[in-house]
Structures are given as structure tokens and as C-alpha cells.
């Protein structure tokens, strides 16, 4: 297995499968190996943005930073660690020639990484050797950064070590109270290499306000700057980004600052500047942007573009790359020398200044960009057709004009909606979804489901900041974008539940129209069930909950509830509800273990379309009476389907077959199968179980037929929409 004997393409393929850290270590084996890796992996190296040295604890870590892709957090890969020890031969496993210097390595016990081991007196030369080696290997197109932090509680007695090395930038973060840093600032700046980033307490700058190197840093953060510091900053800053925190002074310097920027005499590299005022009652408080000659304004009816640039502040590799605070301002100035624009904002007493890499003409083009309402109607329609209905719902809440546009352009799409469902609640949350007609990949008709929004009875305190208010049918409701379902979620206090849901429902009716069914599903009649126009209610208490409903609870519920579309409960009560109760008007009823009194009451008073009674007991007489009353046509006009599943009670139900008017189909013929669409269905076209029976009865008032059978202990009764004549034609 001699690597060098492989053809070049094979070697390349092998290298592709190795981590960068492994490749780097291989490159130290020989000059030829280094050359081979560099030439074969040149394309891969293009994804590297920089090499960073950072000290954590008593070790320096060297790692590769990769270019961020699609705003994802920056990826890093550690190459090696470095540490010092007075006995630099202890635990050394191997020695390597690094840029002409033989250095010792050991295998780190924390990371599976080699650790360069050196004596403190060789610190500078060790870093020089490894840096030169990295420069040679990765080239000088990547950034080499040295991160140093001085926290007083960690390094009180230690001097910050910053080597003077070619192509090395320094990111420094010095916090207030570090007296050692403060005392040695001038010496530090005099000796420091290319300074990229600097954070410091302003008081520490008082005595070194004229040190020019400080103001050349790309990025500066100064906390509580004193008057002299602010003055010196405005006079000398040459970097790209700066933030002055807790400023008490210096706002009077903003006008000259902007004038100097406008004339092009200073701040040429500036991208972003922010001054945050001190939150003290005596601090200076401006309410508007200081006026300068040439200050321009964008028409207030237009939306200015938002300025934001990648934030140069780099707390550490694990932090995602972020952007500077967005500046959206109608006010801007233009630099005379190159016609470039800076957005200027003064909000909450804080001054923000963002320089665009665009000329005024380009900037003003952005002001009018992508206004949906500026597109021709047919283009708007085409765009809106590509958007999920949940997103259209969001968008409709933005303005009345938007709502009108969506409603008018999507009217045909909304006609395909067959149902809007308020799903049963789970942990105080419920989801609203729609069912709509669509085509599958084969082009055949099918039913689609799309979530519209979530509804919840309480705020999630952890994400309190994510909420925003929207006006829904005149009521302000808190919303947020759900992390789980990516759907809008409405939140309200339980005391606001009724009015909030009423507003949401009214909004749906206005937005989608009332041509399809709206269904509220509940797990228990005792749960919240709104009484709203065009809203059908499903209550399913079984088999999810096995406890039986008491007669008092049911009575109370039906006294105040709307007429239910569907009810499924377990009821073992001895008492029965009054014949006037809306219980008997439920369109589709399923009752588990009803006692004979309940069965008898239902066989007398039921006014709905479909009923199934599970595991019940019944006498023959009520069943015969039911048949006779149906035949008379005086009651049960809406009935489509009735099924009674009996527990074995030893009663001869065959007597029902002797009811006057029962007719029989010739046994040699196959009777038609009766089935109707279930009132309670999930939307996928479920029908009742087919009834194929040779026995039937005919209603006297309209000559319509009902097939019935008594088989396997069940009684099933299905009403046809056909007359007897039509029914008999269907016989084979």
C-alpha cells in the first residue's frame, strides 16, 4: 500500500475522503506529499475562509473556518492544539520538521489531535514555525486571525501574548476593569500587528486617545466612552464598523461627523456606525436626526430598503455569523465623491448610520422594488396561485387591499375547498386545516389536506418575544410562527377564548366564504364548543375516553349547545333526556352501551340522519313500533341509516319480520346493496356499511323503500331515496 504508487486520480480520490486536519498532518511528512495535497486539493481549499488561533484555558487551538453557506452557522474544523511546558520533552511522542524547526508533539488526551509542545522561552519561535507552515500550506488568500480576550477574572496576572507574524490579524476583546490592559495599552498598540477588531471600556482610552493604531481597527466597540474618547473617535476612526455603547456625550458631534462623511474627507471605509445613548435621566436625548445640508428623504408612502451588513464582531467560532442591526430609514445622505448613500436613523434616541455599496440611483431603485401590488393583476394572480393557502391566510391579514386581492384572484381555488376543520384539542392546542379537491400525480381526483393555522389557549413564555399582534375581524390577537408546523399560531388567554375564536371564525367565513362545511371537533361535550354561524360540531367521546356521560351533563350540554353534526359517546345512564332535547336532533349519532330506556327513547324521538347504537339491549316491541311509525311516514323523515348492535339478550327479534307491510324479495334474485355517505367522515368518501337484504318496507307517504335485516345479532335499517318501483328495477 504505497500511496505514491497510486495514479494521481486515485490519490486525489483518497485525499477527498480525508478530513482537512488529517491532510495537514500528512503534508508535514515530506515536501512531495505537501505538494501533492496542495495541487490535488486546491479546489477544496477554496471553501476555507480562514485559520484561527484562539486560547481556551491554557491551550491554544488552531482551527479552520469554512465559508458560511446559505446563512448557516459557520463550520469549523480543529487541526491541532499548542501548549507550553517547562519540560518540553515530557510526553513527547514524535518530532516533526515544521518550517525548518524540529518541534515535539504529543497526542492530546482531550482531543484526538496532535499537540505541539514547547518550552515557554520558545513560545514565539514555535508559533512562528507553525504559522509559516500554515501560510505555506493554506496560502495567503485565507485570513489568519488571532483571537485574544482579556477577562479580568481569568487573566489578571497574565500578560496577553500576541505574536508578530505576517498576514496575522488580531481580534481583541478587552473588558472594563482590566487594569493591566489599561496600563499597557499604548505599549500594546505599538507592538500589536494588524488589528481587526477591538472591544474596550471607553474610560481605558482616556489616556491613549491619540494612539492611531487603535482607530485603524476594522471593528471597534467602546463601552461608556468618555467625552475625550468620543471626540478622538470621531476625529480618528478609519475602520469599517463601530458601536459606541452607553454614550452620555458626543451627540453634538454627529452633524460634523455626517458632514465629513458626506464630503468624502473621512470615514471612507465606514459601513456601519451606531451610537447607543446611556439610559440615564440626565443623558442627552435627541428626538430626530441632526439636520445636515443635503439630507434627503424618501416619500413616506414608500418603503425604504433595509441596510444590514455582516457583523465583523466575532465572539467565537461556535457563534453563528450575524448581521448588523437593520436600519430602515426614510432619511439618507449621499457622499459627494462617489455618489454612495448612507441611511441615517434616529430611533429611541439611538443613532444608526449604514453605508450602502450602492449609488443613489441604485439605492432609489431598491425603494420601489418588488411591490407585489405593482404587478399586473394576472401576474399577481399567478404568483398567489403558487402560494400555500396558509401563507395566503397570513398575507390576507396584512391589509384590506391584500385581502381583497387574494379573495378576488383565488376565488376558483377556494371553491375546491370542501371542509374547514377545527381539529380536536391536544394540550390546549388545536389545528385548523382544510380539505380540498385536487389531482394526484396520475391526474385523478383526490382530496388534499393543508394546515391553515394553530390555536392555543396560552402563551409559551420561552418565546414571548416571538409574538406579534394581528387584527382579525376587528380583534387584536397574538400570533407567532410555529416552529413545529411552520404555521401561524394564534394565542389568547382562556378568558378571551370565546371572542377570539368567534373573530377567527368570522374571518374565515369572510375570507373563504360559506360554500363549504366548517366543523368544530371536540373530544368531550364538556370541552369548549362555540356556538357560531355555519359551524357544525363533532363530539367524539369514544373510544378515546371510556367514561360514560351522565344525564345531567348531557342535558346541560344540549340545553346550550348548537345542533350537533356528529356525536359519539358512551352512555349508561338509566334516565332519558326529554324528547325536546337537541340530543335527538344530532345528525349522526353513535352511542356505546346505551341501556334499553335510552334505546327506546331514540327509537321514538330520533330526528337525525344516521345512528349506530353499540352493544345495546332492546325489547321487540319498541323495534316493531319504530318500523310501524317509519312506514306511516309521520316521523323519521330524515333517517337514512340505523344500526343496532345487540349484546346477546335471547330475545327473538325475528318477530319484527312479521310487521304488517314487510315485503320479501324473491330469494333467487340479488337485492341491491344500500349504502349512504357517512355524515361523520374524514373526507375520503367513507360510506355506511352496505345492507344487502331480501326484506324491505315501503313508506306510505312517498312510497320510498327501506331495506332492513336482522342478521348476526344486528338490526340494520337503510332508507333508499328510490320509490318501490325504482327499487325493484334495481333487482338483478
Amino acid at each position: 500500500m504505497k500511496l505514491s504508487k497510486f495514479p494521481y486520480l486515485v490519490q486525489n480520490e483518497i485525499f477527498e475522503n480525508l478530513e482537512h486536519s488529517d491532510l495537514f498532518w500528512m503534508s508535514l511528512q515530506s515536501q512531495n506529499m505537501k505538494k501533492l495535497i496542495k495541487s490535488s486539493q486546491a479546489k477544496r481549499f477554496q471553501s476555507i475562509s480562514g485559520i484561527t488561533y484562539a486560547k481556551f484555558g491554557c491551550k491554544w487551538y488552531v482551527f479552520i473556518r469554512f465559508k458560511a453557506i446559505n446563512n448557516e452557522p459557520e463550520r469549523v474544523e480543529f487541526i491541532m492544539t499548542m501548549s507550553e511546558h517547562s519540560d518540553d520533552t515530557k510526553n513527547v511522542c514524535f518530532r516533526l520538521n515544521v518550517s525548518g524547526r524540529i518541534v515535539g508533539f504529543r497526542l492530546s488526551n482531550e482531543y484526538p489531535l496532535p499537540e505541539l509542545y514547547f518550552h515557554p522561552i520558545h513560545k514565539t519561535s514555535a508559533f512562528k514555525a507553525i504559522h509559516n507552515c500554515l501560510l505555506d500550506y493554506f496560502g495567503d488568500t485565507v485570513k489568519y486571525i488571532w483571537i485574544t480576550k482579556s477577562y479580568p477574572w481569568i487573566v489578571k496576572s497574565r500578560k496577553q501574548f500576541i505574536p508578530q507574524l505576517p498576514n496575522l490579524s488580531v481580534l481583541s476583546d478587552f473588558w472594563p476593569g482590566d487594569s493591566e490592559v489599561k496600563d499597557n495599552l499604548e505599549a500594546y498598540f505599538a507592538a500589536s500587528p494588524d488589528l481587526k477588531q477591538f472591544c474596550i471600556n471607553g474610560n481605558a482610552l482616556e489616556l491613549m486617545s491619540t494612539v492611531p493604531k487603535f482607530y485603524q481597527a476594522d471593528f471597534i466597540r467602546i463601552f461608556r466612552p468618555c467625552f475625550r474618547t468620543v471626540d478622538a473617535f470621531f476625529l480618528n476612526f478609519q475602520g469599517r464598523q463601530a458601536t459606541l455603547f452607553d454614550c452620555q456625550w458626543g451627540f453634538s458631534r454627529l452633524r460634523p461627523f455626517m458632514n465629513r462623511w458626506k464630503s468624502g474627507e473621512a470615514f471612507q471605509k465606514l459601513e456601519y456606525f451606531k451610537m447607543i445613548k446611556q439610559q440615564q435621566p440626565y443623558s442627552m436625548n435627541l428626538h430626530r436626526v441632526p439636520n445636515v445640508n443635503g439630507m434627503k428623504h424618501i416619500d413616506t408612502t414608500k418603503k425604504p430598503p433595509t441596510h444590514s451588513v455582516p457583523d465583523l464582531y466575532t465572539p467565537g467560532p461556535s457563534f453563528p455569523k450575524s448581521n448588523t442591526d437593520p436600519i430602515t430609514s426614510h432619511t439618507y445622505i449621499v457622499r459627494e465623491t462617489d455618489n454612495r448613500v448612507a441611511s441615517v436613523s434616529f430611533q429611541g434616541g439611538n443613532f444608526s448610520f449604514g453605508v450602502w455599496d450602492k449609488t443613489e440611483e441604485e439605492f432609489l431603485r431598491m425603494v420601489k422594488t418588488m411591490q407585489l401590488l405593482k404587478f399586473p393583476y394576472l401576474v399577481q394572480k399567478e404568483i398567489l396561485e403558487e402560494i400555500y393557502i396558509s401563507d395566503l391566510f397570513w398575507m390576507s391579514l396584512l391589509s384590506k387591499n391584500m385581502r381583497t386581492l387574494i379573495k378576488s384572484s383565488q376565488i376558483m381555488r377556494f371553491r375546491d375547498i370542501s371542509r374547514l376543520m377545527y381539529e380536536s384539542d391536544i394540550d390546549d392546542k388545536r389545528k385548523v386545516y382544510i380539505l380540498f379537491k385536487t389531482k394526484n400525480l396520475m391526474g385523478t381526483d383526490t382530496l388534499g389536506i393543508e394546515g391553515i393555522m394553530g390555536i392555543s389557549d396560552h402563551h409559551d413564555e420561552e418565546s414571548e418575544n416571538d409574538y406579534f399582534q394581528l387584527n382579525v375581524s376587528g380583534k387584536m390577537i397574538d400570533f407567532r410562527l410555529s416552529n413545529r408546523s411552520n404555521l401561524p399560531e394564534a394565542f389568547f388567554h382562556p378568558s378571551e377564548r370565546k371572542s377570539s375564536i368567534e373573530s377567527i371564525h368570522n374571518y374565515f367565513l369572510d375570507f373563504f366564504g360559506d360554500t363549504f362545511e366548517y366543523i368544530w371537533a371536540a373530544n368531550n361535550p364538556e370541552h369548549f364548543i362555540p356556538n357560531l354561524p355555519n359551524l357544525s360540531v363533532w363530539v367524539t367521546n369514544w373510544p378515546k375516553r371510556s367514561e360514560a356521560m351522565g344525564i345531567i351533563s348531557l342535558g346541560k350540554f344540549f340545553a346550550s349547545s348548537p345542533v350537533l353534526k356528529y356525536l359519539c359517546i358512551k352512555s349508561t345512564t338509566q334516565k332519558v333526556l326529554s324528547p325536546k332535547s337537541k340530543f335527538y336532533q344530532v345528525e349522526s349519532l353513535k352511542i356505546v352501551q346505551p341501556l334499553p330506556k335510552t334505546v327506546n327513547a331514540l327509537l321514538r324521538h330520533f330526528q337525525g340522519r344516521q345512528a349506530t347504537l353499540f352493544f345495546c339491549k332492546v325489547e321487540v316491541f319498541p323495534l316493531i313500533e319504530f318500523m310501524n311509525r317509519w312506514i306511516s311516514g309521520k316521523v323519521f323523515q330524515k333517517l337514512e341509516y340505523l344500526k343496532l348492535i345487540f349484546t346477546s339478550n335471547g330475545i327473538a327479534l325475528n318477530e319484527v319480520l312479521n310487521v304488517n307491510g314487510v315485503k320479501h324479495i324473491d330469494a333467487t334474485k340479488t337485492p341491491p346493496a344500500h349504502t349512504v355517505a357517512n355524515v361523520f367522515h374524514t373526507g375520503f368518501g367513507e360510506n355506511t356499511e352496505p345492507i344487502v337484504s331480501h326484506t324491505y318496507v315501503v313508506r306510505e307517504t312517498d312510497n320510498r323503500v327501506a331495506s332492513f335485516s336482522i342478521e348476526d345479532g344486528d338490526f340494520v335499517f337503510g332508507v333508499w331515496k328510490e320509490t318501490e318501483q325504482e327499487f325493484l328495477k334495481m333487482l338483478e
Binding site: T300, T301, K302, K303, T306, R365, M366, T369, M370, Q371, L372, L373, K374, F375, P376, L378, V379, E382, I383, L384, E385, E386, I387, Y388, D391, W394, M395, L397, L398, S399, K400, N401, M402, F468, L470, F479, R480, L481, N486, P488
Partner: protein, 188 residues
């Protein structure tokens, strides 16, 4: 496929350089037409590529221009920026005589370009490109919050709409008053 030249519309453009070569040589030599946008840069485009645009196709179908006539009379699209027209021409060339793919990855990602491209494509009646563009525009708001959608598509609030409406009414009123005054002056 297209070539561009800065200058007046009568400038002779160079021959196309990126035309996809078909395997078999066409029996009839392909005819070319010339278009230019706001920047007056002339693009030479084949009739086959221009078939994507219902507007231009309708214009050229019965024209019977010779090469010289076509060169001397480029179609002016003064309402389309030069860079946008270039994108449209490139797309027409790339998709000349080919089935269009379900997704087009070559569309511009910058919002401001896409906006102008949609307007141009709609004007030129290039149905398939318009569909791609609209999909891309729609994708911009997928899974976004209302305020983000407002920001992305610059949707004014009700208050802003009302203010704009009031302003428009005021302006219309002023214009009407000005016209009445002018008519009265004329009558005198």
C-alpha cells in the same frame, strides 16, 4: 446565441457565439431578428428563440424581413432595462426548441432584478418564463411571518393605503380644479 453592442440601434451586432448547435443542419437558413432595451444595446436573436415570446412572435410572424431589413429595424423595448432584456434573450436562447425543465435555476436571485424581469416577461408574453418567475417570487414568502412578508413584498398597511388613497384623491381634485380654471380662461 445573442450578441450585444453598445450604441445606436442601427449598429451591426456581432454573430452569436453561444448558439446550441443542432446535430443536423437546418434545411432552411434560420432567420434572425434584433431587439433592444432602454440601453439601446442591440441583441441578435433567432426567430426560433423568439417563439417563446407571444408578443414578438406575433409581430414577426408575417413580417417577411430580409436580414438587412431586420438589422436596420430592431424592435425597441424602451420600457425594459438592458440587463433585464439580456436575461430574457439568454433564457429564450437556452430554451430554444427544447422542452422547458420543471425548475429553472438560472433565474436572478436579486429581488430588484426579479421584479423587473417579471414585468418584462409579462409584457413580452413569455408564458413559461413567467410561470418560473412567479414560482420564484412566491417562494420568497414561503414560511415567513406577516411582517417579513410585508417587508419582502412591500405591502403597505391599511393606514398607508388610506393615506395614499387620500393623496391620490387630493391630486385628482387639484388636477380637476386646474382643468376647470384653464377651461374658464379659454372661455374668456
Amino acid at each position: 446565441m445573442s450578441s450585444t453592442e453598445q450604441g445606436t440601434s442601427s449598429a451591426a451586432p456581432a454573430e452569436p457565439t453561444t448558439a446550441p448547435e443542432s446535430a443536423a443542419a437546418p434545411e432552411v437558413p434560420e432567420s434572425f431578428y434584433y431587439v433592444h432595451g432602454k440601453d439601446k444595446v442591440v441583441h441578435k436573436v433567432s426567430a426560433g428563440a423568439l417563439q417563446h415570446s407571444a408578443l414578438i412572435h406575433g409581430m414577426i410572424s408575417n413580417l417577411g424581413y430580409t436580414e438587412e431589413q431586420a438589422k436596420a429595424n430592431p424592435f425597441p423595448f424602451e420600457n425594459i432595462d438592458g440587463d433585464i432584456l439580456q436575461m430574457v434573450v439568454d433564457w429564450c436562447n437556452q430554451h430554444k426548441g427544447k422542452p422547458t425543465p420543471p425548475e429553472d435555476t438560472n433565474l436572478p436571485k436579486q429581488k430588484e432584478k426579479l421584479f423587473d424581469l417579471v414585468l418584462a416577461v409579462n409584457y413580452l408574453e413569455i408564458k413559461e418564463l413567467l410561470t418560473y418567475c412567479c414560482k420564484q417570487v412566491a417562494m420568497m414568502v414561503k414560511g415567513k411571518s406577516p411582517e417579513e412578508i410585508r417587508e419582502i413584498w412591500m405591502i403597505p398597511t391599511d393606514a398607508e393605503d388610506e393615506a395614499a388613497e387620500k393623496e391620490a384623491k387630493k391630486r385628482a381634485g387639484k388636477e380637476a380644479a386646474g382643468e376647470t380654471a384653464a377651461a374658464a380662461g379659454d372661455a374668456k
